[in-house]
Amino acid sequence: MLKYTIKRLLMAIPVILGIVTIVFVLMRIFSPNPAYLLLGQRASAERAAALTEHLGLNEPIWKQYVIYLKQMLTGDLGTSLFSQEPVLKEIMGRMPATIELALFSVLIGAVVGITLGVICAVHQNSWLDRICQVGGLVGVSMPRFWLGFMLMLAFAVNLKWLPASGRFNFLLRPKEITGFYILDCIITGDGPALVSTLKYMLLPGFCVAIGSIGSIMRYTRSTMLETIRQDYIRTARAKGLGERVVIIRHALKNALIPVVTVIGMELGGLFSGSVLTETVFAWPGVGKYIVDGINNSDYAVVQGGCMLVAVISVLMNLLVDLLYGTLDPRIRY
């Protein structure tokens, strides 16, 4: 297991290097004047000169690349033009909010998506199956940010059941320990804050989850349909097992193995999609940070944020791959 994990981790290195390189190519080679791009057009000549020196912009390209890689490796993603803070530090402060929301939505997406997928496969071509198929396709086709507004309109503006945006209520603010508010509330045993935090999470969580439900459901249905035609399912029926046992114990476990990959891809997608959903719900995470960077023309923030989120979504995929290995007994380490 350890060997396999290390092997997979090593395989992620070229991918991450690729991401970093693409950013380098775009920001340094294609950009007419990287120093002014990062500092804004009205920056003073001395500051531009200092940054040019720091980034090695007068050196040949290959040397710039080496300097750049060194800086990335040491976590030097530059300084935010807007706050004058190191970008890495700011991102790390916002990361828990993004991760918490992504995990929450993928959990909803997986539970609901798998359940519906199994029901649809077992009752193939029933009216329920048809509705779910159409619903799933509609869910995948809707822009998530628009869906966010519609949910907000329904549940926050009209029904007033849930808060429209933000991450916490000022009166019930969880004490920050890990930055993951749900975890923090549980650690401190703060019941009211936990309920309030969960309420804030429901709308953005479901908004993101609806798309995931669609794709996880469609995929579960198709692997499940394939699985229930296998010989070992016939064996299970020949033993006289009840239909529920056949489906849950014998079919679902097999069908779920490939679904895990899709869940991993969804999770990766949720991180990159955070730029949209966090903007809609004013969720103080990395996605909103990037968009604020766009609006302030703060390109160090945009570059660093996008790159880091891309790397994290690669790592999430990796994590799910490792989980895949533990689920399937046929994979040996």
Binding site: V23, F30, P143, W146, F149, L153, G268, L276, C306, S313
Partner: protein, 299 residues
Amino acid sequence: MEESSKQNNFMTQEDLSASAPSSLWKDAWKRFYKNKTAVVALVVLALLALGAVFADWLTPYNPYEVVLSEAKHGPSVAHPLGCDEQGRDILTRLLFGARISLSVGFISVSISTLLGSIIGIFSAYYGGWVDAILSRIMEMIQSFPSILLAIIFMSVFGRGIQNAIIAIAVVSIPGPARIIRSSTLSAKEMDYVTSARAIGCTNVRIMFKHILPNILAPIIVNATMSVSGAILSLASLGFLGLGVQPPTAEWGYMLSDSRTYINSAPHMIMFPGVAIALTVLCFNLLGDGLRDALDPRLK
């Protein structure tokens, strides 16, 4: 012996006439026509395209004319979908927005499909280091979440419709490239390629005259599905303020612009989203239908 070979010849000729290329497409059309949802999707898209092309004649309003007296008015007979915060007719703006969305979708997908096809077919046909380099580059682009890559791209090159097209095209090259690489790899092993080589066809000719027509089905299906992705990407960029320049009527930008009025004029934010979702859904349904019609094995 001689007689049996004669009979064989006779058989093949009959087979050939039975499956002439035209009837292949006719069969596909028949299968497509049977798929009611796909046909409906095609009709809706056709209507939308017509609406976009003839928008100037279809509506009495100008999409950019500010009529403050009608600002934020809800749907009415005069304005079926209402007016926005500057009193511009939303339906008119949506029709003009369809122009942008559809053309950006088509142009960027054409670019990415063309480049992706060329890259895919070259890397599969030549193999070796050509394949290694091209495939690594494709993997690099693919591992980068496309919306983030597009954001960086737009922030370096600046907003505007041309840059949006290029950004969306670049991030979606790996899709067709990968599909075409794998279909070419299998097509390469087919006998018709060997025989083309035997009669002395050049590599380029073999690639584009013999292999390409045989892997057209997955390319078309992928391209159709990609249009929906491109339209969503454009809307997302517009929403983030990185798409086309305001005040151009563009769906994503309209959506983003009207979010401030979600309490007072919810219709403003509702309809652009419906337009996006409907278009994307139709392209997805169309893609599904085409896949089933063109290559029943893919199902």
